[in-house]
Symmetry: C2
Subunit: 234 residues, 2 copies
């Protein structure tokens, strides 16, 4: 591909945590022939497992550039995912997950992630920002609903240079209405390297199999009838 | 004041850069009897002068808590304020300032600042977020216009736990329609410690007097007929 043709490729910033959903989203963006600019946020997670996964996945897809932005929102607190003093819940009833705002909710998480992606998208002149948010399995998270993303789209249109010039970046959330099983099937179709992803809220050598995230993942693979290559404790 | 009465005070997160506008905004929030939680963002500015000012101002107002959040958006680039490779413009015609999107515009700056304030506001259960944005002197910045803040308000209502519970934080931007001279007069009325503020885009011992920010400040004080205690070069 010569330089001129290459310049015509669409660019996408893809929020990549290293988990299942963001990896399937990256695979989808890749399929749609965007030039890939994954963005991972080191926000003071309890462990580095997710970020290590994100790096392996970025390498797997031979992305244009993988940016890891460090921001210590654990200083702000308020979530079991960033505050070591709050215990991560275990073995919750899978039907209860998503029916409340859980303690693993990070305040304004998606707004913070999208705002950083918006700044990055503006600098590299990306056409789209992809986020692997999902409204079904995370209905307890207010910032995982379509109406929330529509409101953020408005912010992107009004609050950026590209937006007021009539070329706003488009916020895309292709997994929003899929069940976890459907996400797994979509990942299978796209040949996603499931073995490189990390979903567990804890950072052990093996996934715990007991936190909300492990429970949803296990249920998803089971319902999809696909084997999860992740190794679990016990 | 006993503990019970104290708990009834409204809380406000105030974005405090250490400049003139954010300091006048803090003074206004103080006048409105909010409990003050200023938030300063160490976003990889060229210099620490602003943050030093922010700390002095927070001390002056004996705030409840001053949070400084570090996030290196200079990695994202695209602005003369965070990228040492881009030269800060000097001696621009004061009438031209604000008529374009200048190179000192930080991509998605206010969206990033507000999203961090939103997360913090949610954790401390604040009723309001104050930002000293101004549409007149910074009409070149897309994220300093009322319609932009209205869009962000929608994000705050839809994307947070407090928002979906019907107690959304309110985004306030009291300086939005003031000229710089009016902001200076408002600061005078509120006894703002002008001598502690820092406006210059550069980080010298004295303010440069030549960058857009110094030019606007000097013009504001002159038009207000108030003496600027800032010391300038030359």
């Amino acid at each position: 591909m010569d330089a001129k043709v290459k310049d015509l490729r669409k660019k996408a910033v893809v929020l990549l945590s290293g988990g299942l959903d963001s990896t399937v989203t990256l695979a989808r963006t890749h399929e749609e022939d965007y030039e890939l600019y994954p963005l991972s946020i080191d926000y003071g997670q309890r462990h580095d497992k997710e970020l290590e996964s994100a790096q392996k996945i970025a390498n797997w897809y031979e992305v244009k550039e993988h940016k890891i932005l460090k921001i210590d929102i654990s200083q702000v607190g308020g979530s079991a995912l960033t505050d070591m003093k709050i215990k991560i819940p275990e073995k919750r009833d899978e039907n209860k997950i998503g029916s409340d705002v859980p303690i693993t909710y990070v305040p304004a998480r998606n707004t913070i992630l999208l705002s950083l992606a918006l700044g990055y998208a503006e600098v590299i002149e990306a056409q789209a920002i992809f986020i692997g948010a999902n409204a079904l399995d995370y209905s307890g998270y207010p910032d995982c609903r379509p109406e929330y993303f529509e409101a953020f789209q408005e912010v992107a249109e009004l609050g950026t240079k590209t937006g007021i010039e009539g070329k706003p970046v488009v916020i895309k959330y292709p997994l929003i209405n899929l069940t976890k099983a459907e996400i797994v099937k979509e990942g299978e179709r796209l040949n996603v390297p499931f073995h490189l992803t990390w979903s567990c809220y804890k950072g052990g050598d093996l996934a715990c199999g007991k936190c909300d995230s492990c429970i949803l993942r296990l249920k998803g693979f089971k319902e999809a009838g696909i084997e999860d290559p992740m190794e679990y404790e016990d």
